[in-house]
Structure formats: structure tokens, C-alpha cells
Symmetry: C2
Subunit: 348 residues, 2 copies
DNA sequence: GCAAGTTAAGCGAACGTTCGCCTAATTATA
DNA sequence: TATAATTAGGCGAACGTTCGCTTAACTTGC
């Protein structure tokens, strides 16, 4: 690697003081066009680049944002967090920041993991994802008094700024879509009560059912965990209900679960869409090949990443946040799995 | 955030010079037990932590490793790279390093993306993943003369150090397993010739077939891209061959593709395992629920991550590498999809 | 009992920036 | 023409470390 080119080298070459070079580069100083030209020439003759460690030391800011990435317990294979990460990385670079990845060891005290990063001044702030009820990271961030923005929330009135997907509104929209398709007996495969995301989405179901004055049979609301297998088992259970209580539509919280449901429906000799409607969540690329296509809710993950970074960087610059809490609605994508007349074959 | 606690603060508190504190902390100096105790007491009375920017500046090393993460074109939803990333992050921390994420913009010149990081001294080295033929990053790294280690290789004799999975050995082992199960007509769903990984794995197929003196019908080697749909279509094509040319086993390069193959087999009224054996690759969690279980090759991704970081950090310390190129064999996991006598479940 | 080696600790300098204050020259104002 | 205001640029200091050299005191060997 070549020797470091510093401000002093540039200054010598341009025959000015090095502090002047610094100021001119950052537009903090007016110089005569002639001097300006000499400096510019020197910079690219020598290939000068400011040293980021020196900048960090002087500015007391690392321009690094800490992010630790633990997979959701609920939906293991969701590509959501990958997209989120990618989106953050791009947005951060636009603003002169980078993402620093760090591990959260199960055996090591979580507080010291975060404290180490803050106290050594390695990072300027944190991004947290997959927030759940009583998330242990929240009090830690609070205690460290370090800027942080979350993807997800543990309650409506969280002290930390967050961006989240409005799962409640999303599921409500899906249910209203099913109602518009003529369904009345609509079931939902929810997640355990410990899941904040799951509870939130389930509320959307209640909202829409109540909004349409539709009664809800207790058997229609199932809570469970897992992926396709959960969908298969739970759907089989629903389809075994007496005919007048059997749901004609099943809402799920994950595309993969919807796939399991669709298999169960097919195994009962029924047709997805025509006989029983199904909806998923996430618009996962992995299920795009499935036929019939799965009606789903696409999360605007890219936008979440951008917003989270914008907010965090704003915080670091001392700007007051325009919105402390942002909720983004998912987008309903209607495919064949929830449409009665699509692919309808004239059948008996 | 609290005021910075520096070496000088500790020194004042312990009544020694600050340089002494620095040396004692790093074990570069012997002091009397009494002084040692005073320093230790001062450190945790004040909560001293060395400032990483100052260290970086002085040591001319950021202790940051650059990693840019672009999804494989071939297998979009493989969780391999996620595991790899996670493994790197942990291993790096053990060695006092962190991973810095940066974007590779399609519109921006790749060289300047890397050069900027190196010339500003933001990173000490790079990790590259998903190397393909004529990878544009290789000459860039070479030109920048920056330490780097790759996950994957573009050719046997690459100039950069790499760690890779021995896909050739893996597929060969899978094919030998099928042969041991009594199969003779074995087909493979390969990837386009532009895929280095695919070509490598296909070679394993040839190795094993030749090693067992089994003839290969040209129709058995299919090249294509895609996920489950590719498997479905290609398998249907294979199963439509005349009876004496029809393969009794189909090797695929991805679990998801194997799933498509299994659907095709079932759709033909045949039974996976008993009638046609199938193998996948990656041991993806997403297909664990599939019945019958998919025989697959598990990549030792965790080990790859550890090795890559070990090697890169070694390079940065100026240590000569024990092995410039490391090849790790995947592990064959035999499940029902490749066993004739395994309990048959009427599913899919 | 004296030169030579060992040990404990201090001190100056450097890593490459940015910031605030200062100075000299030029221009505008009275 | 004298004075105030503006402009172009310089200079010292600081951010918090680590490194190498020096010094003073204390052992050791003969």
C-alpha cells in the first residue's frame, strides 16, 4: 500500500498551509481562484483522501452505525431482514455513514456488548430490529443514552423512535378484501401471544370482522408457531369443522404458512380460491412459483430501511425528528388464492 | 453521553504518567504491584475505555473489515450467506475486529467504491463472497494491493487466498451414495455454463459416474436456472424419456430445486425414494418440513466464515498463511428422498 | 567498591485531522 | 485621507492514543 498522502503533502505541493487546504476542501473558506486551482491540482496529483480515523478522532464521531442482526424466532426464513439491511447500507452511505455489524453472544452480558461499542466510541448510534415485548435492548439503550432507532416497536408509546410496518392495517385490509369477495366465515392462523407482531396483526383481523359486523367463531382463531407444517396442521383442523362452521377463507401471517394451508386444502379435495380462500404475508420470492399464486401483503421494507437511517442520522446531527414514530402500511397483492372466479373451471 | 474518560484522567487519578497507564494496560510494562493496583482501581473507578478512533489513528489500522453482500444470482433465497455473515461477525469480534458493510452500486464505478474505503483507511481488508468467473472485484483488489480473502473461487489458481466448499467432492459423494443404493441411471439438473459453482459441482457428477464405470446418457445432464419451477419442468422432461433411458435418480444443486423435482415425480404418480431418488444441496431449513425428507449436502458455512476471518486477520498481522487455498467438503445428509426402503408417506 | 546490567517510570513526539483566533492586505465608509 | 469593515490565509492547539528514548534507582558480578 502506498504511503499516506496527508493534508500537509497537499499543502506543500500547493504552497499554502495545510489548514487552508482542509478548510477549502470542506468549503469553509474563500480563496482566490488561483489558489483554489493550485489546491485542486495538488489533490488529484497526489491522490489525497482524508484519513477517516483522524477525522473520527477530531470530530468525535465515528460515522459508524451499529447493527446486530438476530434472526426472528417467528419466521426463520423471511428475507425481510436481508432487504432491510441492504436498504440501510445504501442509505447510510449516501449520508456518509457505514453499518458496523456486531454479534450478540447468548453467553455474554448484553449490556456490556452495547456499552463496549459506545464507550470506545466505535459507533455513533444503533439500529435495532425485531423488537419484541419487553425487549432487553430497550432499557440498555436508554441507560447508555445513545441515539438509536428501531425497526419495530414493543408498544405504542415507546421511548425510542421507531419505524414499523402496520401489520394491523395490513391484515385488516386483507380481511376486508376477503369480505368483498363474499366470504363471511374467515379464520386466522395467528402466532403465540408472546409475539407482538402476531398480536398486532390479529387485531387487524378483529377490526375488519367487527367493522363488517361479522361474528367470529372461537374456533377460527388459532395460535401456533412454525412454518408450512403449522399451516398444514391448523388448516386441516379448520376444515374438519362442521360444515356450517367451516371457514371459507383462511388468513395467515406468513406466505410459507399459507403454502401449508394450501396443501391441506388440496389434500381435502378442495380447490384453493374457489372453495377456500387463503392469504399470506411478506410476498416472499420463494413462493412466487406456487400455483395458484398466493394473495399476500408486501412489506415496504426498503422504505423502512431508508427511514430508519434518515432518522438516526438526523438524531446524530442534533436535528429534531419530524416524526418520532412512523407506521407504514403493507401493500395488498391480490393473486388467485383469494379469488373465486380466477382459474374457475366449470366443475359439476 | 458522559464526558470522555481518557488515559490522562486515569493517570491523574492513579498518580502516574498517562503513557505508563497505556503501557500497563497493554502489558508492555512491568510496574510494582502497588502501582498496578492504583491503575486498575483508577480504570474502573472512572470507567475508562480506550478510544478506538485514537487507536486507529495511531496504529494506522481501523480494525474494520469491509464486506459487501450481493445476493447470488443463481440461488436467490439460500440462507448460506446469512450464516456466513453471522459466522464472520462473531469470529471477527473474537479477534478484535468488526465487519463494515458497504454497498456496491450498479451505477457507480466498482473500483472507486473499493478505493475510497482503502484510501480513507476506513477498512484494513476485504472479504469477498460469491466469486464467479472473471469476477471484476479480483483485479480491483489486486490493483489496490489490499489484503482480502474470498469465500469461493474463480479458478484453481487464484492469486487471492480463498476458502471454498468442495462442491465437486460433495456431488460426487451424493452420486456414489445413489449408486450404492442401486441406481445406475442418474440424472443431474445443473446450472448454466456461466456458473462456476455449477460447473464445479457437475464435475463431481462426472467423476462419480466415471469412477463407477456408469455410462451417461446426454439427456440426463440438463442445464438451467431457476428454483422449484426449474426442477419441476426439468424433471418432467426426464420422466418423459423412454422407459429404458428414464433415470431412477435425479441429482439437483439446490434443495428448492429438489422440491420441484419431487412435485414432478409425485404428479407422475411415482413415489419419491422408492421409484425415483432425489438429492438436493444446502440443507435449507425452509425445506425441512417437506416429506419425504430431502437427502442433501450441508455446507460447512460456519467453518468457512471462521476460516476466512482467521486468514484475513493473519494476513493483516503479517503472518504467512498456513494454507493459501482451503477447500471444505460438504456433509452428505441422507434422508428418505434417496432411500428405497424408507417408510413411504403419501405426501407430495 | 566500582563498572555493567536490570528495572520502574517519565517524557517528547507523532498519527492526520478540524477549530478558533490572529494578521496582513484590501476595500468600503465617513 | 483617516478609519472601520471585510477578505485571504496562517498559526497554534487539541482530539486520545502508542512508540521509542531517557533517567533514576536498584541489583548483580567480580
Amino acid at each position: 500500500m502506498a504511503k499516506n498522502v496527508t493534508l500537509k503533502d497537499v499543502a506543500r505541493h500547493a504552497e499554502v498551509s495545510y489548514q487552508t487546504v482542509s478548510k477549502v476542501i470542506r468549503g469553509q473558506m474563500q480563496v482566490t481562484p488561483e489558489v483554489r486551482a493550485r489546491i485542486d491540482a495538488a489533490i488529484d496529483a497526489l491522490g489525497y483522501r482524508p484519513n477517516s480515523a483522524a477525522q473520527s478522532l477530531r470530530l468525535q464521531a465515528s460515522h459508524l452505525l451499529g447493527y446486530s442482526w438476530q434472526q426472528d424466532r417467528q419466521n426463520q426464513i423471511s428475507p425481510i431482514l436481508q432487504q432491510f439491511q441492504h436498504s440501510m447500507v445504501e442509505c447510510a452511505e449516501d449520508l456518509g455513514y457505514h453499518i458496523l455489524l456486531f454479534p450478540q453472544r447468548p453467553n455474554k452480558d448484553l449490556y456490556s456488548t452495547y456499552a463496549a461499542l459506545v464507550e470506545t466510541r466505535r459507533v455513533d448510534g444503533f439500529i435495532l430490529s425485531s423488537i419484541e415485548y419487553d425487549d432487553p435492548r430497550l432499557p440498555i439503550i436508554d441507560r447508555l443514552k445513545v441515539p438509536a432507532v428501531c425497526f419495530g416497536r414493543s408498544s405504542e408509546d415507546m421511548s425510542l423512535p421507531y419505524v414499523d410496518i402496520d401489520g394491523r392495517a395490513g391484515i385488516a385490509e386483507a380481511v376486508r378484501h376477503l369480505i368483498a369477495e363474499g366470504h363471511q366465515r374467515i379464520a386466522i392462523l395467528a402466532w403465540p401471544e408472546t409475539s407482538r407482531v402476531g398480536t398486532e396483526r390479529l387485531n387487524g383481523y378483529w377490526d375488519a370482522m367487527a367493522g363488517a359486523n361479522l361474528p367470529v367463531d372461537a374456533a377460527w382463531v388459532i395460535r401456533g408457531a412454525g412454518e408450512s407444517d403449522y399451516g398444514y396442521v391448523a388448516a386441516s383442523q379448520l376444515l374438519a369443522l362442521p360444515h356450517d362452521r367451516r371457514p371459507t377463507a383462511i388468513v395467515t401471517l406468513l406466505d410459507i404458512i399459507a403454502v401449508g394451508v394450501m396443501r391441506a386444502i388440496a389434500d381435502q379435495g378442495l380447490q384453493v380460491g374457489r372453495d377456500v380462500a387463503v392469504t399470506g404475508f411478506d410476498d416472499m420470492p420463494a413462493v412466487h412459483y406456487i400455483k395458484p399464486g398466493v394473495t399476500t401483503l408486501r412489506q415496504p421494507v426498503w422504505e423502512v430501511g431508508q427511514l430508519v437511517i434518515d432518522m438516526l442520522v438526523g438524531l446524530l446531527k442534533g436535528e429534531p425528528l419530524a416524526h418520532q414514530h412512523v407506521l407504514l402500511p403493507p401493500e395488498l397483492i391480490v393473486r388467485e388464492s383469494s379469488q373465486r372466479e380466477a382459474l374457475a373451471q366449470p366443475n359439476q
